[in-house]
Every structure is written in C-alpha cells, then in structure tokens.
Symmetry: C2
Subunit: 503 residues, 2 copies
C-alpha cells in the first residue's frame, strides 16, 4: 500500500503519448479523494514519455485517485494512505490573524527571510554550500527565481535553461557594458517545449528546503533577462504559469511571488499580472501564499488575490519604519523582502553594514512586520549570496536567527506596535488577550537607562536584550516607577513581562 | 580721539536720571553719522545711574554721534574714527546667494553650529571650560538662551536672573517629578526692572565668542521655564525685546532666534511672534539674521522677516535628507539646528553616536544646507554640553571641524545637491559658473569601489575623503570611464575636480 504523510507530496506518474508536442498537445488531470477533501490537480509532461500528477493531502486516512486526460487512452486509479505528519512538518504557511502567519497545524511562523535569486541554477558545489549555510537555521524563507538571471555579477550561463533551444552568446558580456535593455537577438528558443531537467533541479531544491523547514518563495517572473523570458507571448506565458503550478503546487513550502520588481517588466501590463494571478487562483488547489514584489511603485496590495505585502523599500532612509502604516493601509502581513543587503559592492542597495541590516529586521519585526536578508560582498570568485548562494560572509545571519528565537517567544501570535514615546519602538502582542508583554526597542539610540511607570501592585520582570551581541540578561522584578540600566550602546531592547498575580 | 574698528562696537555712556523706574520712565537714543551711513539706535539703562547707547559702524572714516532722550536734560555729541577691521573681523554674517551665508566682507561663512542652551548662566569655571573647548575651532556658531532654563538636568538656579525679584524655591525639584506644566507660583519678579548684571554676563560671553570667530545665535524666548518668563504680559514681553535689541544689536556676531521650540510656548500666539519680529525689524539697525526654531511644526519660513530656516528634525529616521526639498520650498538657507545629540542619555534626542551625528552633518551639507551639534553624555557632575557647556566628551567635534575645512574649499559660495544615482548624495557648487567640482558622499553605504563616466578629453583629479578618519587621499587623474577604489567602510566620499585644459 502506498503511503504519504499529511502535507507530503504524493505523485502518480505514467507513460503517455510522445508524438507531436506532449507539452501542449495532451492533457493529464488527477482527482484525489479522501474522507475530508476532494482535490483536482493538473499534471505535466516531464520528458522521456513520462507524465506526472502531484497532490498534497491535508488530512490523514484513506485516499483514492483517478488520473485522466488525452495523454493516454486509459484512466489510472489507485489508493493510498495518508499518515500523520512527521516531526518538523507543520503544513503550509497561512495568514492566520490578518497580520501574521502560522503553519496549517497552528504553529506560529515568524518569517526571517533571505534571497539567493538564482542559487538553484549554480554548479553543484555552490548549491551544496548554500544548503549547508541554510541548514544553520538563520532563515526560514528564501526567495529565488525559476528563470535564469542576467545582471551585474550574473553573466555566466545557468546550468540549465527552462526551454529547448540555444541561448545568446555571453562571451562579450561585462559589468562595464551591462544594460537593462537588450533586444534578445541571438536566442533561439521553443517556448512550447520546456526543459524538464531545469524544473527538476528546482524541485530538488524545493524539497531540500522543505527538509530544512525553509519556505521556498518562488519568483515566477523577473526582468533580469537576456534570453527573452520576460517578453514571451501571452500564450507562452500562460503555458509557463500552468506548467509551474502543475509542477510545484504540491510542495507544502511553496510561496508564489508573481515577480521580482514587476514594474521593471516593461512588456507586461497590469492586466497580465492579474491574469497570471487568476491562473494561480484557479490552478493551485492549496492556496499557497501569493504576492508580487516592486522596484519602485508598490503593486496594489489590496487586490484580493494578494495574501501579504512583499515590499522593497522606496526610500534610502525611512522604509521599515512604515511597517505599522502599511499594516493599517493594507490589512495584510507586511513582509519587507528587500531593504538593502549586507555587503560592500558599489551599489547602495548592496553595501549596508550587518548592524544596519539587523536594525531594519528588528524595526520591522517590532512594528508587527517581517524582513528579508541578502548579502553582497565583493569576492574573487564573484559568488554573491544574494544571487548565487554559496558561503555567507556577513555578521547579520546569526543575529537574525537570534531575533527569530525572540519572536518565537511572543505570547499568542505576532507582535504589533504598541504605545510608546517618540524615541522607541514598543512591540506588544497582536492579541488583546495577551497583555503584559512589551519589548522596548531603541534602534540606533544609545540610552544609558530608561524609566518606566507601571500600575502599582503589578510586578514586571525586566530583561535587557542586546540584539547585536545576542544576549538576554535578567534585570530584576519591579513595580510602580522603576529604572532599567542599559550599556549606552546601540541596538538594545528592554523586555517587560508582567508576572501572574500571586495568590 | 576715540577709535573703533569697522564692525566693532562703539558705546556712549552717560549718567542720567535715577528717580522712578529708569528702565521704563526714560528714553535714550543715539544717532551715528558717517560719510556712508546714518544709524539710529535706542540705548538702555544699565543700572547704577548709567545709560548706554551702542553702535556698530559698517564703514571706515570719521563719524559723529548725538545722544538724546528724556534720561537727561542735555544732548551729548562727539566724534570718533572707524578704523579698518582687524584680522578675523569679517563683519556680520549675511545671506549671500539665497541658500548660503557670507560675512559682510564677502568671506564665505559655512555654518557648523553647536548648542549650549544656558552656558552663560553657569559658574565661572564651567564658562571658562566652555570657552576653552570652543577655542579649538570645532564650531562657528553657538545657540544659547537669554532666559535661564528649567528642564531635566537643569534644576540648579542660574548665577543671575534677568529681573529684580526672587525665584521659586528649587530644592524639591527632581528628574522624577519634572513636568513641563508649572504654574509659576512662588516667584516674585518685577518685570519692569531688569537685572543688568544678567545681561552683562551674556554680553561678555558674546564678546568672547566674537573674539573666537563664533556667531552667537541668541535664543530670546523658550518654554523651559519655572519662573514665568515664558508667560509674561504683552507689555513685559515688548519691554524685554526692546531691551535685548538695544543691548545686543551692536555685536556683529549676533543672530536672532526668536525662540527655541516656539510651538511649546503655549501662552504665545502667532500674532505674538509676528509682533516680536516687527520689533526686531524696526529696532535692529543692522538687520542681523533672524529665524525661529520649532519642536514639531515648522514656523512658516516663507515669512519675509525670516532670513533662514532654523529647523528641528520632524522624524527620527529621515530629516536632513529633506534639506534640498526645504531649500526648494523656502528659498532660504536651511540650517538644521537640532538633529539629535551625540550622547547616551535616556532620551532619543540625546543618545545618537558620533558617527551618526557626523553623517547627518555631511548629509545636510552635501545637500546645500547646514547642521548643528549638541552633546548629552551622562556624567557624575551632571554637566552636559547641550545645556551647560563644560567639557566635550564626544567623537564628533573634530570631525565637524574637518567637514568645515572641506566646505571652505568649495569653489564660489556654497554647495547644492547635484545629479547622482539613488545611492549617493552628490554635492556640486551652488554657482553655475563653478562647474567641475563634485563630492560624491556615500553615508552609511560601504562601497568597495565606484565607477564614473566623464566626457572624453576632460581630466578629473580624484580624491578619497574619509569623513570619519579625517583624511583626504589622492586617487589619481582620470578621463572617460574610470573606477575609484574605496575601503568598503561607512562615511566615505569621493571628490572629483576637473583640471584646467592644458594648452
């Protein structure tokens, strides 16, 4: 008897027709039935005469399946059993209380993301190194692209291409002559024939991330292109979207990012983005999280298909400090997926300090939002984490992991900005049922002490959090008016927890 | 024969009537005539039967004076000679080209200010220490108050009070019980009788600053008050303004700041501020610079009597970065007199790092504005530079002096923001006649290099400026496209100067 764990991936594969173009000429469709759900899903052609349909069960117990389509003259049927989830499998991430995320089993999910745009397209050794870094638990989400990337530091061809055909010659490319605007001549692609190996590589990576408990925030389209993948026809786009959804939906750790810097994809209109979103909403049976990421102008995050904001900062100096405003404006989780990267490249978006990046993480988190990491250090191999993955060189990752441990201690689910003075960011639990917990964060301020005034009779436990040196120090229990000493350094916080009334 | 240097202070004093209240019952007025100017000025009563009239000549040569008024039955007349200015005397500071300042002799004045609100009211030893620090040339402007100050760290009585009478008892005051809102009971003042000693102290300080080449940015009113000086009657206010103008106008280094945080003076209306401004405009024959400083809302800096903006930041995160916007909006010099202080007190306005304060100075200056320093370090004596003066403890003053040396190298008069990419602040000369000079400032960015593209045939001299370590390093001469290496640290700048065409 076949078994699969709840929120695992169940796959049915079958030989099918190979004449004509199997990617476009034939269909395959599955229906999966259990006591509590019936799920329909499109399958896909995986090359070599093999068709596949995938399914992610959301309940335990006995299931049946029925596979139909023009790919074959027969209907395939079968049974399988869904077992309870194994340790570390909490299901897909959902929006749980307007502003925050939880896994489907109810476990809070506090997003601490990173970005390695084309790590899956790199040589095996680099991919292994990336996974080794990711295994250290710094991040629980990673953004990356399906298509290869053409950009500064990104002129090497990817290991595989998504279509059959031949790419434009890249031997004359250089940082000096790089330009966004290329005419795509010299490419020869068949946009009706996918290269299954390309997608299998990505699937392998998604599965490895799943094993590490990391969400795969898939960037389906992007503008960094010399091959024409950003300017395909409407028909080719739709074929691509359907193929992507059919292949990746059944991975529980998938998030859909319609695009990186959608506003730089000049060939696409708002109508296009809405059409892609409609495909997603129709074809993804699991309602994975959906968003779209800006360069300059935010997409309209009030659109009903958008589950959360996926933002890039719009100003060099004030950005994550708007987190609470954007929560109010959009009524959705606010995820800052691009707030400049730790590093030392020439570009301002890639050369802030680890201190400043960690400050931005804290500031976003204390205001009830989330932030994303990236790293761009100059190095002789020209392997930069932000694009290629590889080895981490910065100081921020372990501090981000520390922040995550603090976030996981939040009573209830999620923080929001509470009342405080002008010169601090005060975080309190999102739930009004969870009062008596406050983190006072001072950012680049360097107070030597802070005074507090609490209702007489209440007892508050004070802790000093050094967000940079990653320490939590007991500072005693207080009532009424009290003063907490601080070291007069940047990046400190004070956590106050009200003690239960003694009986 | 009496002599005084051009822009020096010429004073005529005379015995006069002492019956009644000489501060209100009698007048004294002077007319000073030279070949190029006739100046009329009110005098003032200085106690002990002495009346004085002061004059600042703006031309050299032979002058006469004529002193009249009800203070005496006689008219006093006399002659004096105005000699050329001695070294370091460049005259009063003026607005010279809409956005920038110059001394009256044409020497550019690049403002690098500081604030010691009540340094003149401190014991002699502290005053001496303040002047010793100021003699090191860190700053060329200092803001301070005529009235004493009631605020945290400021509960000690001043050495003198501005009026005859007795102050409220201060023995029960503490940081814990401090509040803005006091009812002024317990004070007993005669607001028609000044205490000349109080004003003489301030004059001595203004004169000492003049000797050091430092502008005295006098704060005439402020809200930090337990004595009632911020809530006097209209008549008392007007008497005070006239007395202040009569005593201080003839010092060439005086600037008028109508108030610090005018919007916290709840007893005063906009009409009041406009009336004080009218008194200034009428009574100050020398048209010293005039502004007014906010807590939250800016005053309307478009008012014609305002010579320059004197701003406090309105946001914790983005402030001096609006300098170029405010230049455009107000068409006047933009001076950021309060952008948080280097220090480690509990309050966010007084605990930023020296690095961050110096960054704000550079950012303001590269955008064609000016910034002001302050320092608030906790210390056992509770002597904080921001209020008391005393000793400097921070790292910013010498960096501010270094910035000043760079500003003084500007071709023409003043910088403005030039065109540049999103991730840099590029300063170019204000004058369109002075092209070929650029400072590219990277703030908290840490580029390891930057690329430039100049018109072929032009030769540009490149220098790397480390704004924190205070070095200027020759980086060579370049044409066309070139790359300048940087150390990948924060607070760096690249200066490019176009070389004259060789013949």
């Amino acid at each position: 008897m076949n078994t699969v764990e709840k929120w695992g991936l169940f796959e049915v594969s079958a030989k099918g027709k190979t004449d004509g173009n199997p990617f476009t000429d034939y269909t395959i469709h599955g229906v999966f039935r259990g006591k509590n759900e019936t799920v329909e899903a499109d399958g896909f052609y995986d090359g070599d005469g093999i068709y596949r349909v995938r399914f992610m069960p959301s309940f335990t117990g006995a299931y049946t399946y029925e596979i139909t389509g023009t790919f074959s003259g027969e209907t395939l049927t079968g049974e399988f059993t869904v077992t309870p989830p194994t340790e570390g499998n909490h299901g897909p991430v959902r929006v749980a209380n307007t502003y925050h995320f939880a896994y489907e089993d109810g476990t809070p999910y506090y997003s601490v993301g990173t970005t390695c745009y084309v790590w899956t397209h790199q040589p095996e050794a680099v991919r292994r190194q990336t996974l080794e870094e990711l295994s250290k638990g710094y991040f629980n989400k990673i953004r990356f692209c399906i298509f290869p990337k053409h950009y500064i530091h990104n002129f090497r061809d990817p290991e595989t291409f998504p279509y059959e055909g031949t790419p434009v010659d890249n031997s004359n490319l250089s940082e000096e002559t790089f330009t966004y605007h290329v005419d795509f001549t010299g490419n020869d692609w068949d946009f009706t024939r996918f290269n299954p190996e390309h997608f299998r590589r990505i699937e392998t990576c998604i599965a490895e991330l799943r094993g590490l408990g990391i969400e795969a925030d898939l960037i389906i389209m992007h503008p960094y292109d010399r091959w024409g993948f950003s300017q395909m026809s409407r028909e080719a786009d739709d074929l691509y979207w359907q193929y992507v959804v059919a292949r990746f939906s059944a991975f529980r750790n998938v998030w859909w990012s319609l695009a990186n810097e959608y506003d730089l994809l000049r060939a696409k209109t708002l109508e296009d983005w809405e059409r892609y979103a409609a495909i997603l909403c129709e074809k993804d049976p699991y309602r994975h999280l959906r968003s779209i990421h800006n360069c300059i102008a935010f997409y309209d995050y009030t659109r009903p298909w958008i589950t959360h904001c996926s933002m890039q900062r719009q100003d060099l100096y004030r950005h994550v400090e708007y987190t609470d405003d954007f929560r109010t404006r959009y009524g959705k989780p606010v995820v800052w997926d691009e707030i400049a990267y730790e590093g030392n490249i020439d570009m301002g978006w890639g050369n802030i300090s680890g201190q400043e990046l960690v400050r931005r993480f804290w500031e976003a988190s204390m205001r009830g939002g989330y932030a994303g990491h990236g790293e761009t250090f100059v190095n002789p191999e020209d392997i930069l984490w932000w694009s290629h993955g590889g080895k981490l060189h910065g100081e921020s990752p372990e501090r981000i992991r520390f922040l995550h441990t603090i976030l996981c201690q939040t009573p209830g689910l999620g923080l929001k900005r509470g009342e405080g003075s002008f010169d601090e960011t005060v975080a309190v639990p999102e739930s009004p049922m969870m009062q008596g917990y406050e983190i006072h964060y001072y950012g680049f301020g360097r107070p030597s002490f802070r005074d507090f005034q609490k209702t007489p009779g209440e007892h508050w436990h004070a802790e000093v959090i050094d967000t940079w040196n990653m320490t939590v120090t007991d500072a005693g229990v207080y009532s009424g008016r009290f003063r907490i000493a601080l070291p007069g350094r940047e990046y400190m916080a004070i956590r106050l927890t009200r003690l239960p009334e003694s009986t």
